[in-house]
């Protein structure tokens, strides 16, 4: 197991290095005159100011020094300064990351709680109307744009019953109930969107496993349906589903960008949208790096978990 983890982490190093290169390239990719326009948004354009902000963006140094400082900053927690607020980005990220994390975790939980039982039932009732209904619904969930569903939730209940989703965020530790009331709607929309593919994979895997010999043996032993399905079949069927759930982290992050904007959740998704809108590139850079790191690390976690659950992987 350990040698597998070491090999897997070794694969991670070049990926992480390339991620930082891509993110560091971002600001350098900006055309020179655009940099001046961006500066002009924040400070009146005298020559001295222009140089000052170019310095702030780090564009006055050679590229290798810029990259070196960027990587060093990542490790020392110095994530740069926001052009707009002139505040350190690291502090803002530390405030917003837990919010997005909570939203993502809730969404993931909702998607699993919905998708796994539905997938199992669809597999047991293969090619009956219940199966068709559930599969049809799953494809609908995958195709419904989250931003549309979010907009409808904001608009329609307001028209019908005069109800609108809450707009004031409370920290979970200050007021758990109102925090959950605030988070549950965006989390549910996000979770349902993810549940479609989880449900489909659970169903396919269950069908595969249910055809195996050891399941026939379990039936032949006279075990009850509940035991065969839950203890024998589902445990094995869920192994690939675990990886899929992990691989959905990028989708989850993408979804939080949209839903945080609609429901004014103060996480990193809405931070990104504001930053892109005001062309606050140091912030854009930092958010890109944070989410890419999150994705890379969750992929690592998934692979290790997979190897733990299915020993065949370790020796492949």
């Amino acid at each position: 197991m350990w040698s597998y983890i070491v090999r897997r982490v070794g694969l991670l190093v070049p990926t992480l290095a390339l991620v930082t290169v891509l993110v560091a390239l971002l600001v350098r990719l900006l055309p020179g005159d655009a940099v001046e326009i961006i500066i002009g948004q924040y400070t009146p354009l005298t020559h001295g100011d222009r140089e000052a902000v170019r310095r702030q963006l780090g564009l006055d140094k050679p590229w290798y020094e810029q990259y070196g400082e960027f990587v060093a900053g990542v490790f020392t927690g110095d994530w740069g300064t926001s052009l707009q607020s002139q505040q350190p980005i690291g502090r803002e990220l530390a405030r917003r990351l837990p919010v997005t994390f909570e939203l993502g975790l809730l969404a993931l939980l909702i998607s699993i709680v919905v998708a796994v039982p539905v997938g199992v039932i669809a597999a047991i009732r293969q090619d009956r109307w219940l199966d068709y209904l559930m599969r049809g619904t799953a494809i609908v969930f995958i195709a419904v744009p989250a931003f549309w569903l979010g907009t409808l939730v904001v608009v329609l209940p307001n028209v019908w019953w005069g109800w609108a989703p809450p707009i004031h965020y409370e920290s979970f530790f200050d007021d758990p109930l109102s925090n959950l009331y605030f988070m549950i709607i965006p989390a549910a929309i996000l979770g349902l969107g993810l549940s479609g593919s989880v449900m489909r994979l659970t169903r396919t895997q269950m069908l595969e496993v249910l055809r195996q010999d050891y399941i026939r043996t379990a039936w032949a032993k006279g075990l009850r349906e509940r035991v065969v399905i839950l203890r024998h079949a589902l445990r094995n069927a869920l192994i690939p589903v675990t990886t899929l759930i992990g691989l959905q982290v990028p989708l989850l992050v993408g979804g939080t960008v949209v839903l945080e904007t609609i429901f004014s959740v103060p996480g990193i998704g809405s931070y990104l949208v504001t930053a892109v809108n005001s062309r606050d590139y140091p912030v854009v850079q930092a958010v890109n790096l944070v989410v890419a790191l999150a994705v890379v690390l969750s992929n690592l976690l998934v692979d290790v978990l997979y190897a733990y659950l299915d020993p065949r992987i370790r020796y492949a």
Binding site: I139, V276, V284, V295
Partner: protein, 322 residues
């Protein structure tokens, strides 16, 4: 097939086959019988293409802005006196805050979605096929290097890299709506290409150890020839299925960035922008504004997904569960 003629001794009768049109129709009918859901998706996509092409007679009369055909009005026609009207016989989907006909905007929106989506998918599939087949076929260090780059690239969630990339590309594109749209196409193509190249590489890896590749090498075929004449035709089913699914993803992505306010710029009609947050205030009082564009995106994405699934089952059953 000519080898049947060799294998079976005696007279080989060539039966008169159906004409190409009849054959295609029969093929479609078989597809619809086997995959009713996929056929429903195909109907939606055909309807979308018809809307895109015949919204007005611009494409028919070669790029001269002229009268609407399918759309009841030109998408930009403002009728301020009739602004924010609910659906009625003269405006089936109602009108927006500038008195523009919602139905016409939805119909014209199909044109923008397809144009942007198809161009982005063309870039993505071209790039992905090139990178995927070469990386998979050559293998070794090149493959290792390319795959780490792909790893890094797909670590950025699509919406995040799309927002960022589109904004940076727009700094280059300047204020022109056409070049800004081109910037969106380019970035979207790049974003979609990475994941697709992974799948095509996988298919190439599976193919390259086949006997027919070995046979081609044995008779002295060059690597280029093997890639183009033997690998490429065999990964085409994968490419077709991927392209269908990616078109859905592209339309959804363009809708999403349009909704967030970074999408296809005015004056081009865009489903995402119709839903964008700036219109939220009006939607609260006039909910039909929120319904139609979202429904259009949903139907397009749903149609392409079920069509892609059905194509996958028909063209290449090995890809199930992809």
């Amino acid at each position: 097939m000519s080898d049947t003629a060799i294998a079976v001794p005696g007279r080989v009768e060539v039966l008169p086959g159906p004409g190409p049109w009849l054959g295609a129709l029969k093929g479609l009918w078989r597809f619809a019988r086997r995959k009713p859901l996929g056929a429903a998706g195909l109907v939606i996509i055909v309807a979308m293409v018809v809307c895109a092409v015949f919204a007005d007679n611009q494409l028919v009369t070669l790029f001269r802005r002229d009268d609407p055909l399918l759309a009841p009005y030109y998408y930009d026609d403002q009728d301020i006196a009739n602004r924010l009207r609910p659906p009625s016989p003269s405006h089936l989907f109602g009108t927006d805050r500038l008195g523009r006909d919602m139905l016409s905007q939805v119909i014209y929106g199909a044109r923008t979605s397809l144009l942007i989506g198809l161009s982005a998918v063309a870039i993505s599939m071209g790039l992905a096929t090139l990178v995927g087949t070469v990386s998979g076929y050559v293998g070794g260090r090149l493959d290792l290097l390319v795959q780490r780059l792909v790893d890094a690239w797909i670590s950025f969630p699509a919406i995040v890299i799309l927002l960022t990339g589109v904004q940076v590309a727009k700094e280059y594109a300047g204020p022109s709506p056409t070049t800004q749209s081109a910037a969106i196409v380019a970035v979207l193509g790049l974003v979609l290409a990475a994941g697709a190249s992974r799948v095509i590489r996988g298919a190439t890896l599976a193919l390259k150890n086949n006997v027919f590749v070995e046979a081609a090498r044995a008779v002295g075929a060059s690597d280029m020839r093997i890639i183009f004449r033997h690998i490429l035709p065999n990964v085409m089913p994968v490419v077709i299925v991927l392209a269908t699914l990616q078109l859905g993803a592209a339309i959804l992505a363009v809708g999403t960035i349009g909704f967030l306010g970074f999408g296809v710029p005015a004056p081009f009609p865009d489903w995402g922008r119709m839903l964008s947050t700036e219109g939220l205030l009006f939607m609260r009082a006039h909910p039909w504004l929120a319904v139609w564009p979202g429904l259009a995106i949903f139907l397009a994405v749903w149609g392409l997904n079920v069509l892609g699934d059905a194509l996958r089952d028909v063209l290449d059953p090995r890809l199930r569960g992809l």
